[in-house]
């Protein structure tokens, strides 16, 4: 998943679960059936899992542009500078 996809997955998950909870409670309360509330909520959790957890293609619509390897070779890698502070104190 790309960054936009991750944000979308998180938002979708929260909204879908909240909707499932609200619908489950309202239907359960009006039909006076605790069992119904639990079943609707469990169904909602299952559907949300299927939509947001696997890495679907629509979460990858803004893929990151990694640098092409042939392009990277043309530019020198930055050198690592070793600190020489210890030597200066010996004076």
């Amino acid at each position: 998943m790309d960054w936009q996809g991750q944000k979308l997955a998180e938002q979708l998950m929260q909204i879908l679960l909240l909707i499932a909870a609200v619908v489950a409670f309202v239907v359960g309360y009006t039909t006076a059936s605790f069992r119904t509330m639990m079943l609707i909520y469990a169904g909602g959790v299952g559907v949300t899992t299927l939509i947001t957890v696997p890495s679907w293609p629509f979460f990858n619509r803004h893929p990151l542009k990694w640098l092409d390897p042939s392009e990277a070779e043309k530019h020198p890698k930055p050198e690592v500078v070793v600190s020489s502070k210890k030597k200066s104190y010996k004076k």
Binding site: M1, M13, A21, A24, F34, Y41, T48, V53
Partner: protein
């Protein structure tokens, strides 16, 4: 949200939190139900009234219990536990409560009932104070919810008394 495990964990935690929330609201919604239970108890007969060899009084009686506890049941009720207790005062104890009968009511259909039975549990005093004793018969109930807080209440029925002499 970068990996499968991360998303699965986040979903699990959030779903359980939301579940706890709707259960709390379901429990809270019980406060809005109108409850008007009613009950009546008659003593059909005092079968035995004697002094045990240890010196304590014992009574055996037959009760006729009529009750309508249907209004206690809501969508969030698992069962109602009801019991009848005899309550009286003695010089030694300011309040004695002796449980005589109990029942578990599993659903609304069974909540309106009439039962004629001898006492399920023995009515034994701490001492020999029961001759001519006036006592209350109280029907207590505990409403056990599917989720949330259990609450209890009672109906006190005064005016019962035992005979002055052993039978």
């Amino acid at each position: 949200m970068h990996s499968f495990g991360y998303r699965a964990n986040a979903l699990l935690t959030f779903s359980l939190t939301a579940l706890a929330f709707i259960c709390a609201i379901a429990s809270f919604s019980d406060n809005f139900s109108n409850q008007n239970p009613s009950a009546e108890i008659q003593i059909v007969n005092i079968n035995r009234f004697k002094k045990q060899s240890y010196g304590n009084d014992e009574v055996s009686l037959t009760l006729d219990i009529t009750a309508d506890l249907q209004s206690l049941f809501t969508w969030n009720t698992k069962q109602v536990f009801a019991f009848v207790a005899a309550e009286y005062e003695t010089p030694k104890n300011s309040l004695n409560q002796v449980s005589l009968w109990d029942a578990i009511i599993p659903d609304k259909e069974h909540a309106k009932f009439r039962v004629q039975t001898s006492n399920k549990y023995r009515f034994i005093d701490q001492g020999h104070n029961l001759r001519g004793k006036e006592f209350n018969l109280t029907l207590h109930w505990h409403v056990m919810p599917k989720t949330g807080k259990m609450f209890a209440d009672k109906i006190v029925m005064p005016g019962y008394s035992l005979p002055d002499a052993y039978k």
